[in-house]
């Protein structure tokens, strides 16, 4: 509870404090709204041939027939793909699915990372040494080739959610090392010693004294996890691995490329997906910029000083 409440206060403070965070937050809200629109899409997620093929943005297209058999016309906002899908609505699904993939990856990856990082950090000793060696062995494995390998081993069994899980499992070794370092430094800080000497329960020390420091750090780390997961999703899709019939930013790019969109000047198929990826990442980047700034002890002191007045 304390953690969640802390999260909200942190976000509120951040909004007040950092322009970058504010902009990032707005951009991301827009992207999330776009993803949310997918639930209102007139087309089904994996349907093809709902619209005429390869029409540029803002053209009038027939989108079906009404009860009397008359054609219904409508303007397509971002054009249609070579498979007969409306780019705008595809994009909403794509963002949603990519968020699901990246979200799952981050959730799983960071959960493992936090637990292991805290365990190794607090427990230390032989346990720490063994676990750290295992983590180090995993870190040296080149991740992209491994991902491609595993994706081609899992083949059709790799669902959208499965991809998220796989990315999560691949992305905890590095962060867990960072958490461990963070915990180690917290453990050595004065207030920890003070708290322990004053007879505070160790669990309480962790929850009350350390979590407030770890949560913002986690937030910044979540951002980088998101970026990595989106990048990997896009890369795997480019190579034709994963569920290509399910729209995601990666699969939109794959199909655009498959139908030679750049060669035949159908850029409207590619550009929205690229922009979506860019906006998402820039949004997250600005968030993390705000958070980093916010975490900086000196600015934090100034801020506290200001708010006390």
């Amino acid at each position: 509870m304390a953690g969640i409440k802390g999260l909200f206060t942190t976000i509120r403070d951040l909004m007040k404090f950092s322009t970058a965070f504010r902009w990032g937050f707005i951009v991301l809200i827009l992207v999330v709204i776009l993803a949310g629109l997918s639930w209102f899409s007139p087309y089904e997620e994996d349907h093809r041939r709902d619209t005429p093929l390869s029409k540029p943005p803002l053209t009038e297209i027939s989108i079906g027939r009404d009860a009397d058999g008359e054609r219904i016309y409508s303007r397509t906002l971002l054009g249609t793909t070579s498979q007969g899908q409306d780019v705008f609505w595809q994009l909403t699904y794509a963002i949603r699915n990519t968020f699901i993939i990246a979200g799952t990856a981050v959730l799983i990856g960071r959960s493992i990372a936090v637990v292991l990082g805290m365990l190794t950090g607090y427990m230390g000793g032989v346990f720490d040494r063994i676990l750290s060696t295992i983590i180090d062995s995993l870190i040296v494995l080149p991740r992209l080739p491994l991902l491609i390998l595993i994706a081609s081993i899992l083949r059709s069994d790799l669902t959208t959610l499965g991809l998220g899980v796989m990315l999560g499992i691949m992305d905890w070794a590095h962060p867990s090392k960072r958490y461990r370092a963070q915990v180690l430094s917290l453990r050595e800080r004065e207030f920890t010693h003070t708290a322990v000497f004053s007879g505070m329960n160790p669990v309480k020390v962790v929850v009350r004294e350390h979590l407030p420091f770890l949560v913002p750090f986690l937030l910044a780390d979540v951002v980088s996890g998101f970026l990595w997961a989106i990048g990997m999703e896009v890369t795997l899709a480019y190579l034709g691995l994963g569920q290509l019939s399910v729209p995601s930013i990666g699969s939109m790019l794959y199909w655009g490329n498959y139908y030679s969109a750049l060669l035949v000047n159908q850029t409207w198929v590619i550009i929205p997906a690229v922009l979506a990826a860019t906006f998402t990442v820039v949004g997250f980047y600005m968030l993390s910029l705000g958070i980093t700034h916010y975490l900086d002890p000196r600015t934090r002191l100034t801020r506290l000083g200001v708010s006390e007045k």
Partner: protein, 331 residues
Amino acid sequence: MTLLQQFILPRLLQWFIVLIVGITLIFLIPRMSPVNPVQDALGRILQNQALAPEDVVQMRDQLTANYGLDGSLFDQYIRFWTNLLDGDLGPSYGAYPTRVNDMIGRALPYTVALLTFTTALGWIIGIIVGTLAAYYPGRVTNFVSGVLVVIYPVPYFIIAFIFLMALTYYIPYFPLIGVFRGEPGFNSEFITSYLHSTFLPAVTLLVSGLSFRFIMARALGTAELSSDHVQYATMAGLPDRRLMYSYVARNTMLPQITDLGLSMGTIFSGALITEAVFSYPGLGTLLLQGIYQADYNVVMGITILSIIAIATASLIVDLCYPLLDPRVRYR
């Protein structure tokens, strides 16, 4: 003595364990693939011709033996280590009877040249521009950072494709594939054609690498500028330039050097996507092909190289850290 025992030896031991565990994993994972390299090769042979079934079976046995895939998993594992310690990575399946050593040897210089150059150049430019941007915030630097921050998240292959379309199609200036003329070596024919062919992949990698480095350098620089000792130095009236060299640049170099060391370690798995887009004959294209053809030996060869490189790079960084940062002592 204590230095060796307490600091260097444990790290060496860990390096060693990490290698064994990592290499064992990379031995096992491809073998879980349902793509059977023998069947895959057989599929290619039988693709366009019909063969008597008896001959298919005989051919399969022959290929299995040629590939060294006969015997139990344990036998293969033992054989794998015996060969590896001899420095032999075995034959490639897709390019049988070529040895994986030869294939890697052929591709390695291309990848290493490309990636060392782009990583180093991106590192240098990124740090210089990033530090400057942190030091002189203003309209120009904001614009530059804006551009680089936007480029950073654009997927690699999109950047690659834009360059490809622009400079091979609309302006047909650069070649479509790596065209290397003359004997590889230090002669003008080879170097000219090399530069000509490598320009596009290099620029792609540079742009992406640079934007990441820039963002990191600027963040570190900004943090350093607001640190106490720089604030004191400014108040003490130290000249700007001096301040930048002696404090900001120097103190932000440490994490950058660490990071450079680690990035150099990752060079050996190649620039997969960029190489694929530009048909560049490096380790990345080799690896990708190996994965698709279930060419375990190629996949293992390249990843082992990569594992050794990353582990060694981080070992070196670890060992050198105390030399660079006086605050950290060997212990």
